[in-house]
Subunit: 212 residues, 2 copies
């Protein structure tokens, strides 16, 4: 196994995982690199190269057994771990993402939520307690959550960035426009930039003659 796996390869893993999961659901037992490449919009050689980053998942020429491939990808992504996560910001987006994590995300578990709205303290979101932001640091020292899911308004995120990067978290799932990598470029951050995504869509529709 190679030492380093590039971010583009990492970002393709969930897609392989999803496609293979769907194949199994449809009763498909074997898949070739080129069939996977068609789905990924890449090439068979790219697929083999990606899998070789992890020691390869099959034998040349016979394709991949979908169940084996699925188990290998699952092990690789989730490592049998359940990562404890905290939610920061329990507004409309925070509620929805908390529900999404409970219902759709394997291998991650929400353990607490934090907000500044007093009327939320003592309430619950998806069965976890909502605490005052005042307890953020002490909670993290005691319970060592590994992920913070950031759903606060943009201005609040910028103000809290210095605070959040000191929490000794392993990673951040960021729904704000705060660029946490500006504060700590070693922090593992996944950004869901909703506004950027919509703006890309708008550009492409509004400039259809310039389209790719």
């Amino acid at each position: 196994m190679q030492n380093k796996v590039s971010l583009p390869v990492i970002r393709r893993l969930p897609r392989y995982y999803r496609y293979v999961e769907e194949m199994i659901a449809r009763g498909i037992e074997r898949v070739s690199s080129s069939e996977l490449a068609d789905l990924m919009g890449s090439t068979a050689s790219q697929v083999r190269q990606d899998f070789n980053c992890f020691g390869g998942f099959g034998q040349q020429g016979v394709g991949y057994n979908t169940s084996v491939l699925y188990e290998k990808l699952k092990e690789l992504i989730f490592q049998d771990a359940t990562l404890p996560a905290i939610l920061i910001g329990v507004g409309s987006l925070g509620h929805t993402i908390a529900r999404y994590i409970s219902q759709e995300c394997f291998g991650v578990s929400l353990v607490a939520a934090f907000d500044i709205q007093e009327d939320l303290f003592g309430e619950k979101v998806e069965n976890v307690d909502i605490y005052s932001m005042d307890f953020l640091e002490s909670f993290c020292r005691e319970y060592n959550p590994q992920i913070a899911v950031i759903c606060v308004p943009k201005e609040a995120a910028q103000q809290m960035a210095e605070r959040i990067i000191k929490l000794n978290l392993n990673g951040i799932w960021n729904f704000t426009h705060c660029d946490f990598s500006l504060y700590d470029d070693n922090l593992i951050v996944e950004n869901v930039y909703l506004q950027d995504s919509m703006m890309s869509l708008q550009f492409r529709i509004n400039n259809i003659d310039l389209g790719e």
Copy 2:
């Protein structure tokens, strides 16, 4: 101006736009390609190349006037258009995204919402009416919405894909795992794959020794 702009360039435009917006808010009047490059994690030459796709936004050697740059980017992305959008799927995610569009998205306006839940018909989400999915085609024929925002469960999306791609929309903002490009590779689709994003985060935390 060149004829075609690549998707990576398009995806960088909203980030330039955001960074320049922040600079203006902080009172910064000029910015150089290399300052922008630092924020983007790219190079000054990349920044100039990106802007040259649109005829360039400044004069070599003196940096960019942030207000001018902001206006040019704004014009480019939004083209003074307000794109009418429909929401398909008014669950928890649908509600949150409807609110997000109303509050955070410039140049796009929600005009109707659709669901299969009878108790939602006649209700409103962010001031627009919720209709039965039965009216989807007739509504689109009459009002020509340009964007569909898809917030239905995965299984439903797959079932509806053939239906959605026939609506004569200009673009799709897709929050499901349905891969609309498999049905029509000319359709403009922006995918927000939440689960993939979380899985990438999990992989990077769970395999920190393999990290990029």
